[in-house]
């Protein structure tokens, strides 16, 4: 099946972005509306394609559109062509849907910013790049979108780059992403060397003939890519800093969509991972580590956005973990991704709403009792909260519970470990999210007299409300009757493999709920009483470490940055002294010998004559010797 509409999904926002940038200040008055409409129309196209797809039988739902031959050198043939299947349409709807909501939210949120037009241009650019990422039909096309979203993320994190630390955060995000991108490009190279093609279909077709080593290589490199983009261990440190961007950006890019691209990548490459068990195991391990990592960091953050960012990291850890569980896991991963898109975006917008009312204060220790003053924000945030900690029947319950269950049921001792980690993660999640709720919305007010907390305007709470509805309902909608699993089945080849189930679903669910309850209880117990406005410093070493993002930045600085800087300085000195110096030495030697020989030219005619005499002897001697 082909379709001619797919390109517009990307072209419209891309054009709009370029258009708004080129027009400059002339478009200040209407740029935001224009961009929002474009985003909405992209959603329209997506919805249209979705309906069309529903109408077709499940095995022929995928549509493609070939645009032109992009790169063609020898056997390296890459077309610019798009693929819309069950997996990508899920993303398209998420991206354009949540994206449009966030466009709307931003109209109000950014209304006082002089550069609002530029912000919307960037948002549109992001939508275009993200759509290209999920629509590309080959790894290389995906790569374009992959780096495109990285650029968009960079631009948006650094939107207020007049503040040096924000600019630094943007740069850090880009660099960390680039490290991941190395993985993606290497994966593509291995794929080309192995299969002679880099399109998804081409690789999938030939995958059975490839050596395990090659597949493991590709898998690990793809995992590296995913860790960069999805802020997984060990490349997760940029995500916290990325909160420097305006909050809608955090909601859209750093919660709902871009950071989940790694999950998409692994799911898209299911045919590789399913044949490379080692790589798959690594995926699981990375997921498990990150979900704990994020959760632990989340417990220590006082900055509301950073707490949410840590939570994002942790939740994506769940998804990555799920993708590592083989055919059964992909659907749950994507499902959690979608529900997470709703509730986390909703909570971020809520956080933005709080900040909006609190003069951009982000420290939760200076909040308190905001529930009464910002009822809508509190309710939407609360619904998201219930979803994330996995309280039935909210969305997160369905998706996360499935992941924990699948984890426990994976083979051998591995299952116990990762299941345990997932369960523990759920407990910690419940703890830190409850902490956020308590610190922000309940208890006594701790804010300055100057602040005048107030509810946000409709343009802001409207999208929050819609996302809250999603947080409530999406889980049930997607999982009832295994709807989403069978929807995705043609893409991920999960043909109902029967597992020897170690734990019955009921058992796992019960364990999870108990864990959540414990987490909530601890949080309530700890933060029930007064919360100091300034974070106490006499805390135990673990808290200190958690506050420092589990020392990841320190590690990076000590292991990468400082040696890198030292190397740079060393090389700069080397270039001047050693390499250029070597050249200068050659020059100096020539000049030195020049001066030396000049001394023989002493001006005395007799010494010249002596030279001739000497020459005569030398000449005679040499000719004589040669003759002999």
């Amino acid at each position: 099946m082909t379709s001619n509409n797919l390109v517009y999904l990307i072209a419209l926002p891309l054009f709009s972005s370029g258009f708004l940038m080129m027009l400059g200040r002339r478009a200040d008055k209407w740029g935001h509306i224009f961009a929002t409409l474009i985003s909405a129309s992209a959603f329209g196209i997506g919805a249209f394609e979705f309906l069309q797809m529903l109408a077709r039988p499940s095995e022929s739902r995928a549509v493609t559109q070939k645009l032109f031959s992009w790169i063609s050198v020898g056997t390296f043939q890459v077309d610019a062509s798009l693929l819309l299947d069950q997996l990508s349409i899920s993303f398209v709807l998420l991206i354009t849907g949540v994206g449009t909501l966030i466009h709307i939210y931003s109209i109000a949120y950014m209304s006082h910013d002089l550069d609002r037009r530029r912000f919307f241009a960037f948002l549109n650019f992001f939508i275009a790049a993200m759509l290209l990422l999920v629509l590309g039909d080959s790894y290389l096309n995906l790569y374009v979108g992959w780096e495109g979203v990285g650029l968009a993320s960079y631009l948006l994190i650094g939107f207020w780059n007049q503040k040096p630390e924000y600019a630094t955060a943007a740069k850090k995000a880009f660099i960390a992403n680039r490290v991941g991108d190395v993985g993606l490009s290497l994966a593509i190279m291995i794929a080309f060397a192995t299969f002679g093609t880099v399109s998804f279909a081409g690789v999938e077709e030939k995958v059975s003939g490839a050596s395990t080593a090659a597949l493991t290589g590709i898998g690990l490199m793809l995992l590296l890519a995913a860790t960069g983009k999805s802020a997984q261990f060990p490349l997760q440190s940029w995500l916290g800093d990325a909160m420097a961007g305006p909050t809608p950006v955090s909601a859209l890019i750093h919660a709902a969509t871009m950071v989940t691209a790694g999950v998409y990548l692994i799911t898209r490459s299911n045919f590789i991972f399913d044949n490379a068990p080692t790589a798959q195991l690594c995926v699981v391990i990375i997921g498990a580590i990150t979900l704990m990592f994020g959760a632990l960091i989340g417990t220590a953050k006082d900055d509301i956005k950073k707490a949410l960012a840590a939570s994002t990291m942790s939740q994506i850890g769940y998804m990555i973990l799920a993708t590592g569980l083989g055919p059964v896991g992909y659907a749950f991963a994507i499902m959690h991704l979608l529900t997470h898109g709703f509730f986390k975006a909703g909570m971020f917008l809520g956080a933005g709403s709080v900040m909006h009312g609190m003069d951009d204060e982000v420290n939760m220790r200076k909040y308190g009792g905001l529930g009464k003053l910002m009822p809508i924000t509190a309710i939407t945030f609360g619904l998201g909260y219930l979803a994330i900690i996995g309280v039935p029947p909210f969305a997160g319950f369905y998706s996360k519970d499935k992941i924990i269950e699948t984890a426990f049921n994976s083979e051998g001792i591995k299952g116990l470990f990762i299941g345990g980690a997932a369960l523990l993660g759920a407990l910690v999640t419940a703890f830190y999210m409850t902490r956020v709720i308590i610190l922000t919305f309940t208890g006594a007010k701790r804010w300055d007299e100057k602040a005048h907390p107030h509810e946000s305007p409709f343009l802001m709470w409207g999208p929050m409300a819609i996302l809250a509805i999603g947080s409530v309902a999406s889980g049930f909608l997607l999982s009832s009757g295994n709807r989403f699993v069978s929807w995705l089945a043609p893409v991920v080849n999960s043909h109902e493999v029967e597992h020897a189930e170690r734990f019955q679903p009921v058992v796992v669910t019960t364990m999870a709920l108990v864990a959540v309850l414990i987490g909530v209880a601890i949080a309530i117990a700890k933060y029930r009483s007064d919360v100091p406005r300034v974070a106490p410093t006499n805390v135990n070493i673990f808290t200190k470490i958690a506050r420092r993002d589990l020392l990841q930045d320190d590690f990076n600085e000590a292991v990468l940055m400082r040696p890198g800087q030292a190397l740079t300085n060393f090389l700069v000195a080397t270039d001047e002294r050693a390499i250029d110096g070597a050249v200068r030495t050659v020059g100096a030697v020539v000049i030195g010998s020049s001066k030396g020989i000049r001394k023989t030219q002493n001006g005395f005619v007799r010494s010249y004559a002596l030279l001739i005499l000497f020459g005569a002897f030398a000449l005679l001697a040499t000719i004589w010797v040669v003759t002999l």
Binding site: G24, F68, G148, Q162, K163, K171, I188, F192, A193, A214
Partner: protein
């Protein structure tokens, strides 16, 4: 019609016309130079349009006896590789003239001389790519040093005389080594059926491997200096820092390409066996260049020095692609030459403009330019993104082709080379942050944004960068047959994929 001769003669004619102008008319000299270069660009495009993609071998061939007693011919001809490089050159020249409209005014001599030199240089650039006689190539190769030398020394800034001398000496040294090698191969041709300098005939010679190795080195060192490859690069940063932006564009964008072009056209074509022998060493040098250039770029305090070192890194990629000996590597490297020409042009021109406005090219003197001069800042940013090979911009296609082409034959080298991707992000984003972001540094508050003239100059460059990123096919279609021909003649074929290979 002698297209190539006309193309080469046109700028010379323009130079002659400018020479006859009275001294006072420096403005008409500018316009005349611009008109000439635009005419040349049009003729270049015309030639490109008449180029037949599927015809093998050289096209637009011209062949006249020049110095028969040495078997030297004036023979020109272009294949796809030469075509795209000539096209790039003739397009860059008018851009450089427009961009540096006032560049000629701060020099030691008047504008007239400046434009005469530029146009003479253009002739040489066309000649060096179009020559199919090794001797003729050498003549252009060496003679083009002279106008550049005077352009750097006469119109540059800072330690311009020293930089010009360094440039000239390095180049002459390499050129003379090449001369020895040229003489060597010429003498060998004399033993095998008559003295000749014809590239095709020379490539048929059988040369024993020791001699071949030495001759190869003679050519290669000259090209490695030009390209420049680590550790023969130290002239470049000095030259780039001292030259005017326009000169730097021509220097890095076009002249240095002669080195990498020469590696394809002469090193591999004439000495396939030695190319194979030296490949490991050259790949290592290329890798060092990639990483070393990147680190040095990160460590630069001067924006022009930074661009120069990024170029060293890029030339590492190009060289690696060439010596990977795969079609992807070769086509990628050739495309890289073109793309690098344009992205470096953009970087240098914008860097030149902001340096001129600020009166300094030290990165630390800038800051917050995005708030003061947004359009300039964005242009610089886009050029930087192209330099770091962001997908969707032109350099990405070429860089990726180089890496893929290298990986299929030398996986380890490609893996190390990809580290350059990360470093590229660093060396572009660090100066971007320092110069464009952050609070407005004192002294920058009143800088003016881009002018209309500058817009006209930079717009085509940016357009090319974006267009070629999305649609490199027109160039690749032209380059591919030439790459395949070079590799086939040298006896290389692409490694087949391990699964389902042909």
């Amino acid at each position: 019609m002698n297209y190539l001769t006309s193309l080469g003669a046109l700028p010379l004619l323009g130079a002659l016309l400018i020479f006859t102008l009275p001294k006072s008319k420096s403005n008409s000299a500018k316009w005349l130079a611009l008109a000439t270069s635009i005419a040349v660009a049009f003729l270049g495009v015309l030639i490109a349009l008449r180029f037949e993609i599927d015809r093998p071998g050289f096209q637009f061939v011209e062949n006249y006896s020049w110095i028969p007693s040495f078997g030297i011919n004036y023979s020109l001809g272009i294949d796809g590789i030469a075509l795209v490089l000539i096209l790039m050159s003739v397009i860059l020249v008018p851009i450089v003239i427009v961009a540096g409209w006032h560049e000629s005014e701060g020099g030691r001599w008047g504008s007239k001389t400046f434009y005469i030199l530029i146009l003479i240089l253009e002739t040489m650039m066309i000649g060096v790519f179009a020559a199919t006689d090794v001797f003729l190539f050498y003549v252009f190769f060496e003679a083009m040093l002279v106008p550049v030398y005077f352009l750097i020394g006469g119109y540059g800034v800072g330690e311009r005389a020293a930089a010009a001398v360094k440039f000239l000496l390095y180049s002459l040294f390499g050129g003379l080594l090449m001369l020895a090698a040229i003489i060597g191969i010429y003498v060998i041709s004399g033993h095998q059926g008559g003295h000749t300098f014809d590239i095709e005939k020379l490539s048929q010679l059988t040369i024993d491997s020791t001699t071949q190795n030495f001759l190869f080195l003679g050519f290669f060192i000259a090209f490695a200096i030009k390209a420049p490859l680590w550790p023969l690069h130290t002239w470049l940063p000095d030259a780039a820092k001292s030259a005017t932006p326009g000169t730097s564009v021509l220097l890095l964008g076009v002249l240095d390409k002669v080195g990498t072009f020469g590696m394809i056209r002469y090193c591999i074509k004439l000495f396939p066996e030695s190319s194979k022998t030296f490949t490991p060493i050259i790949i290592v040098l290329a890798l060092i260049s990639i990483l070393y250039g990147a680190f040095l770029a990160i460590g630069q305090k001067d924006i022009k020095g930074l661009i120069a070192f990024t170029s060293i890194s890029h030339f590492g990629f190009i060289t690696m692609g060439i010596f990977a000996m795969t079609t992807q590597g070769h086509s990628g490297a050739t495309l890289y030459m073109v793309n690098h020409g344009f992205s470096t042009a953009a970087l240098f021109l914008v860097a030149g403009w902001i340096s001129k406005r600020r009166g300094s090219s030290t990165i630390a003197d800038f800051g917050g330019l995005q708030r003061v001069t947004p359009v300039l800042a964005w242009t610089f940013f886009i050029a930087g993104l192209s330099s770091l090979a962001l997908p969707g911009l032109s350099s990405f296609v070429s860089e990726f082709l180089v890496l893929v082409g290298t990986y299929t034959r030398y996986p380890v080298a490609a893996v190390i080379g990809t580290l350059g991707i990360v470093l590229a992000a660093l060396y572009i984003l660090i100066p971007v942050q320092k110069a464009l972001h952050g609070p407005i540094t004192p002294g920058n508050e009143n800088l003016t944004d881009i002018t209309r003239r500058e817009r006209i100059a930079i717009a085509p460059v940016i357009a090319v960068i974006i267009f070629l990123g999305f649609y490199p096919k027109p160039l690749l279609d032209v380059i591919n047959p030439a790459s395949v021909a070079t590799l086939t003649a040298a006896g290389f074929s692409d490694p087949a994929p391990t699964v389902g290979g042909k």
